[in-house]
């Protein structure tokens, strides 16, 4: 079983990394969908099938569609030079932070005793225990939609900018 897990981790890492590395945005979005699917699988294995389904549909489905839309409107752009942040510095900082975080996270060697949790269905958890979160989600979605349409509403035709290749 451990081998399977390790394979999933490795695949997730590769997908995520490819999503960052890919030159074309569309490819990047597809790698992201792959990452999402693998994370969903992981979540499923951990024992949260409902979230796995939502992650699969929203993370791998909806978000990918959104990306494709956005890329369609905004167009592809590829760059010949890397970002101005030195690559080794980026690597160093990320590795350092991850190692430090890992040091803190993994310092515990045994799994904690699970507290005797009341038996609760997901329905009860969402709609009775944490219904405030759900209410707030509605407000969040309202703000998000308002913001997005506010940003996108254009009453004049889109200005034509040639999709230039930046160097």
């Amino acid at each position: 079983m451990l081998l399977v897990y390790i394979l999933i981790v490795a695949a997730t890492a590769v997908c995520a990394f490819q999503a960052i590395r890919a030159n074309r945005m569309l490819v990047s979005a597809i790698w992201l969908a792959g990452t999402s699917a693998l994370v969903a699988l992981m979540i499923y294995l951990i024992g949260a099938p409902e979230v796995a389904v939502v992650e699969l549909s929203v993370g791998a489905g909806l978000v990918t569609v959104l990306f494709v839309f956005a890329i369609n409107i905004a167009g592809e752009e590829t760059y010949t030079t890397p970002s101005r942040l030195p690559r080794p510095l980026a690597w160093g900082m990320v590795v350092l932070s991850v190692v430090l975080l890992g040091w803190f996270f993994l310092s515990r060697t045994a799994m904690p005793e699970a507290i005797a949790a009341p038996n609760l269905s997901l329905y009860e958890a969402i709609w009775q225990q944490r219904n405030l979160d759900i209410l707030l989600q509605v407000a969040l979605i309202f703000c998000g939609v308002l913001g997005a349409i506010g940003l996108l509403s254009e009453d004049k035709p889109i200005e034509e900018h040639p999709a230039e290749v930046k160097s």
């Binding site: 515990r108 913001g147 506010g150």
Partner: protein, 509 residues
């Protein structure tokens, strides 16, 4: 629904109504011209919220416990909540009133007011949250409402650039917060504040959670070096939003930070020390960065960094009360910090609104989104006496000249911190005092410029400012002066807030 919850719920419920009203009764042909009636609805809802807050406050000081559990998520109004609600509602209604004429020529006003009101509700909710994950949602809601507001001028490249920078950094910070919450939950099995406090002990994962909280919320608080989004967002947002961001939004982030650190009280004694370190950094870097700025709003944005530094000084001392003999130190320093949050909201709000008046008259009313530079202010007092006076009062108060409100609150922080008797903290107080002096190095030239005899070309070409924009400026200026002469006017608020801070960190029951 319990009555007091209206002080949180009303603005959020009002937001869609505001949108619908604004959409239905748009003035003109639906695109441009005129104040959208949504503004009045928003203002009305804020005043009503103020009324509910006042009612809750009277109940609170009559010893009622304002706590409501919705499922397993509890909301509770304590001193900090009331202080924040006051600052948010005062500045929020001023900003709303001000936005009327300021945005009269822009499209999408109804969305603006709806989002602004929702953001206000989110912030008040944030200050009442008693559940770590719930806190994050309020925080995220505040952020989501503020992103489009920052990029409100959606055809202005600079505004968009500021908006996306703000968004990316905020989102990165909020992910860190989420990881921290997960860590805390995995260690303690609880999300409610009291449950976590009861179940937590010293462990490395909990320490990591603290670090993640500090860095994650620190992005929103604009602690140096996490501040890089702030000058862009604050200078490019519409002026009323700049006022809100600088005056209350970053402080709301700070409230979220101290709430989450308070929950980790038994994990480490040194959260306060870390805050003190950031405070010192913020003061120095904020002031030095502002020193050579030429754009007025950017300068004010950097001065916010310095002021967050002063606030962190007091809060850091309060959170370090483990090290002091008596709790008075922490109480004084903490309530001083809350006082400074209040006065900073007024002063910085005033500064941004007054600068916004000039920006509006000199550029926006002529359809330009150029930044307002220092040199544009030359001789502004001749044509815009009230605006220039308001801005002068604001910057002098920010620079800590007595007897304006800014000094009074700084002094209270200094007294409290000095009381600790700790040489490091005393050194920090003196450092803060010198920083105040340094800040005059960029505030004073602004005042001089405005009172030049010969107005510059930009000023001569400017248009008059609508009175509806001058009114909030005058009211805030009055508040800054009055609070300077009569600081104990808000003492009940700051006292309970200081007490709640000590409660939060478990020093008092």
């Amino acid at each position: 629904m319990q009555n007091w919850l209206w002080m949180i719920g009303l603005p959020i419920v009002a937001a869609p109504i505001i949108y619908v009203v604004g959409r239905t009764f748009r003035p003109g042909d639906g695109t441009k011209a005129g104040i959208n009636p949504a503004m009045w609805v928003a203002l009305l809802s804020l005043l009503a919220t103020g009324f509910f807050t006042y009612q809750a406050w009277t109940a609170y000081i009559a010893d009622a416990t304002l706590e409501t559990s919705i499922g397993m998520v509890a909301l509770r109004a304590d001193g900090i909540s009331f202080l924040m609600a006051t600052a948010i509602l005062v500045l929020g209604s001023m900003a709303t009133l001000y936005s009327g004429p300021y945005l009269a020529a822009d499209e999408g006003q109804e969305k603006f007011y709806a989002l602004l009101t929702a953001m206000i509700g989110m912030m008040i909710g944030l200050s009442c949250a008693r559940d770590l994950f719930n806190l994050w949602i309020w925080f995220e809601g505040m952020a989501i409402a503020s992103f489009p507001l920052v990029a409100f001028y959606r055809r202005n490249p600079a505004g968009l650039e500021a908006g996306i920078k703000y968004l990316v950094q905020s989102a990165a910070g909020s992910i860190l917060v989420l990881v921290a919450i997960a860590l805390v939950y995995s260690e303690t099995g609880s999300l409610a504040y009291d449950g976590i406090v009861a179940a937590s002990g010293r462990s490395l994962p909990m320490l990591a959670a603290g670090a993640l909280f500090i860095v994650g919320f620190g992005v929103k608080v604009a602690m140096v070096p996490l501040h890089t989004w702030l000058p862009d967002a604050h200078s490019q947002a519409p002026s009323p939003i700049s006022a809100m961001l600088s005056g209350v939004v970053i402080e709301a982030g700070l409230i979220a930070l101290i709430r989450s650190l308070g929950v980790l009280q038994s994990v480490s004694n040194n959260w306060g020390v870390i805050l003190l370190g950031f405070g010192a950094l913020n003061m120095l870097v904020g002031n030095l960065l502002a020193l050579r700025q030429t754009q007025v709003k950017r300068l004010l944005a950097f001065s916010s960094l310095a002021h967050i530094g002063y606030i962190l000084l007091g809060i850091g001392v309060a959170a370090s009360s483990y090290y002091f003999d008596d709790l008075n130190t922490g109480f004084f320093a903490g309530s001083g910090s809350f006082f400074h949050i209040l006065t900073h909201a007024l002063m910085k709000g005033l500064a941004f609104l007054a600068a916004g008046c000039l920006l509006y008259s000199l550029y926006i009313s002529r359809g330009s989104h150029e930044p307002l530079t220092k040199n544009d202010l030359a001789g502004a007092a001749r044509r815009y006496p009230l605006e220039a006076f308001g801005l002068s009062v604001a910057v002098l108060a920010l620079g800590g000249l007595p007897p304006l409100a800014g000094f009074m609150s700084k002094w209270q922080i200094f007294v409290g911190s000095f009381m600790s008797g700790n040489p490091w903290i005393i050194g920090l107080v003196i450092f803060a005092a010198f920083n105040s002096v340094l800040s005059l190095g960029y505030y004073a030239p602004l005042v001089n410029l405005m009172y030049r005899h010969e107005p510059g070309e930009v000023v001569l070409a400017g248009k008059p400012t609508p009175w509806l924009m001058i009114l909030p400026v005058c009211l805030l200026a009055l508040a800054v002066v009055v609070l300077g002469f009569w600081p104990s006017l808000v003492q009940p608020l700051t006292d309970v807030a200081g007490f709640s801070l000590l409660q939060l960190f478990g020093f008092v029951r």
